[in-house]
């Protein structure tokens, strides 16, 4: 590979360093370059695509790319229908995934996704130092950071970690070390005619169960709380429709058992019986249930590989050990350290109605990375911010267009907002895409923020936030069945909501 022989970014001092060459690292590097920010990209991998070089295990994604959509392919509005392409800084490299899929599914295969990310890198000419592992971190006296790597020492004033959340994690129950992690699943034929016990009711567990349906003799899936299904939560929370088949098999009595039970311990079985015994306790009534199994698989999740960042003061929380972050994905406790890619889930946002952002998936994280790059460019590198003027009589149409076509609002509901500010001296300005939590909590001049939201009932509806004299109010607009807000009724609703603001500026 050209990337390997070239080996850019030798050890030394850089204004900014990005670690990781998964979709997160690649997207933030592309966007930083768009803002003219000189930076190095380091990755332990030998080629781009990050986690998608290995997973999903059964070789098909759960995020879609629709070749045919109500809007023209390769445009910004088309991004709403293409969850998997990274966003280039120039138009000709948009929607790379579409040309690489064979048409058998609108979920790309894992190799198609890998090819898409590789194509993005080669077409846009992104540069990465591959085979360079970050091993340690130090804060220098002048506030800059030092990174130790397998290639030597780097220094930088700003760090962006896009190291993913893909390090296998398993709980501490006794005998858990006897279980194989999702990451260590063997080729599926090796599970033929076996009793499989899967711990964990998230997508990874159900993905394995789906793939093993034609092979396993019996599948038990267990964890303490009931399975949630995305079609019931009306969000990406819960098991995606693609992986619901084991659930149907269970309710129809086919040979899959789905249990709400805590795993007490895993033991080795008797010499002549099953290799493993899993001792569980039912959540409902504490009744002990014991299962023989030929294989026990811990689909118990992943953590972020933060190495020594916690020692530097980076606070983490939750089972995935995500770094706690500001709305602009900066460590909440160590300024100058930022996060991109799926690790950006640590900036939870408002989580209205309990519905998280899509920052854990490419379709959400790619916009976070672009907003982050702009934030870094303006706040840490003193780049001028582009904030085009918007004519007063254009405001309503501008907002309705964004609510209907803006991919950032579509993919990051109640998380990213389109903001127009109404500073009396500057007139009306398009502030672009801003984290909603920032808009709501940070204060500032009078402004309008537009988002799309869901409340778990299934509808997707616009919400307009007005900031007037420092106080933020919230104004929902009724959902439209075709999700098109360029209608007379939405126009009159929005005009009514904005009237007090537009009357003033």
């Amino acid at each position: 590979m050209a990337e390997l022989t070239e080996r850019p970014f030798p050890p030394g001092d850089y204004p900014l360093i990005v670690v990781g060459s998964g979709p997160g690292g690649l997207q933030v590097s592309s966007a930083l370059r768009g803002h003219g920010i000189d930076h190095a990209v380091l990755s332990a991998d030998m080629q781009p695509a990050g986690m998608f070089r290995r997973w999903p295990f059964f070789q098909r994604l759960l995020s879609w790319t629709k070749p045919f959509a109500p809007v023209a392919r390769g445009t910004r509005p088309y991004e709403r229908y293409d969850w998997n392409s990274l966003i280039p800084e120039t138009d000709e490299h948009r929607a790379v995934m579409v040309g690489l899929m064979d048409g058998t599914s609108y979920f790309p295969s894992r190799p198609e996704m890998q090819a898409g990310l590789e194509a993005f890198v080669s077409r846009t000419g992104l540069r990465v130092r591959f085979g360079c592992r970050w091993t340690g971190t130090r804060r220098l006296d002048d506030g800059r950071f030092e990174l130790q790597t397998s290639d030597g020492t780097y220094t930088a004033g700003t760090l962006v970690f896009a190291v993913g959340v893909a390090e296998p994690w398993r709980p501490t129950s006794p005998g858990m070390e006897l279980a194989a992690h999702y990451a260590d699943t063997r080729p599926v034929e090796q599970y033929a005619d076996r009793r499989i016990f899967i711990i964990g009711k998230q997508n990874s567990g159900f993905e394995l169960a789906s793939g093993m349906l034609p092979w396993a003799k019996r599948i038990v899936i267990a964890s303490p709380s009931p399975a949630k299904l995305s079609v019931n939560t009306h969000s990406l929370v819960g098991i995606r429709a693609r992986y619901v088949q084991p659930y149907e098999d269970h309710v129809l009595g086919g040979g899959v058992a789905i249990l709400d039970a805590a795993i007490e311990r895993i033991e080795r079985g008797d010499a002549d019986g099953a290799p493993f015994r899993v001792v569980t306790r039912r959540s409902l009534d504490s009744v002990e249930m014991v299962f023989d199994a030929d294989d026990v698989i811990a689909a118990t999740g992943f953590v972020a590989p933060l190495l020594d960042l916690p020692d530097l003061g980076v606070a983490t929380f939750g089972q995935s050990r995500l770094p706690a972050q500001t709305p602009y994905w900066e460590s909440a406790t160590v300024p100058g350290i930022f996060f991109a890619g799926t690790i950006g889930q640590g900036s939870a946002g408002l989580k209205k109605h309990g519905i998280p952002s899509n920052s854990g998936a490419v379709q959400g994280a790619r916009y976070n990375a672009r907003v982050l790059a702009r934030h870094i460019a303006t706040t840490r590198f003193a780049r001028a911010d582009e904030r085009p003027a918007v004519a007063r009589d254009q405001v309503v149409d501008f907002v309705l267009d964004e609510l209907t076509l803006g991919p950032e609002l579509w993919h990051q509901r109640a998380y990213l907002a389109r903001v127009l500010s109404l500073d009396p001296t500057e007139g009306i300005r398009d502030d672009g895409i801003v984290p909603l939590a920032w808009f709501v909590d940070a204060g500032g001049p009078d402004a309008i923020a537009a988002t799309l939201e869901t409340d778990g009932t299934g509808a997707v509806y616009p919400v307009v936030y007005l900031r007037r004299d420092g106080t933020v109010t919230e104004h929902p607009i009724e959902a439209h069945p075709l999700l098109d807000y360029r209608t007379a009724s939405a126009r009159s609703d929005l005009a009514g909501i904005l009237a007090p603001m537009l009357g003033r500026a």
């Binding site: 129950s173 805590a262 929380f317 939750g318 089972q319 989580k351 309990g354 709501v440 909590d441 409340d455």
Partner: protein, 140 residues
């Protein structure tokens, strides 16, 4: 960081969860999510829809109405239930006082959760009654 077994252990020490068995506590630990707030960050926002039920694991929170502190909450205490039960936006801000670590349950999941855990519902009712009594005491 904490896994659900550790969270279940923490919950076992809170009065609210005193009647639950270990497997039930594990279920609770799984159903709730962990959230982390830095000093001064808003957890609930006065007048804004879509909040959840919060339980404090570590730290303190200030209940503020129009910017004025009305009460402080600490480890083991919960908030957010009033707006969920009434289906109305919160009438107060809740703001982190120092670093605050909570468990959160989405509003849509609260009714089912309480129905599944009636003893917990009873203890929540007791805690609410105590708050009401204290509030009335201040007033008189």
């Amino acid at each position: 960081m904490a896994d659900s077994a550790e969270i279940a252990d923490e919950l076992a020490g809170f009065a609210l969860f005193a009647d639950l068995t270990t497997p039930q506590l594990m279920g609770v630990a799984h159903a709730f999510e962990e959230a982390w707030f830095k000093d001064g960050e808003r957890v609930l926002r006065q007048g804004m829809t879509g909040s959840g039920l919060y339980l404090i694991l570590d730290g303190q929170a200030s209940i503020r109405v129009d910017g004025e502190e009305r009460a402080k909450l600490s480890r083991g205490e919960f908030f957010g239930e009033v707006s969920i039960l009434l289906g109305e936006p919160p009438v107060a801000d809740v703001v982190a006082l120092g670093t605050l670590r909570c468990l959160v349950l989405a509003s849509s999941a609260v009714e089912g959760f309480l129905n599944d855990h009636p003893t917990l519902m009873y203890r929540m009712l007791q805690a609410s009654a105590r708050r009401l009594r204290n509030a009335n005491r201040w007033r008189s």
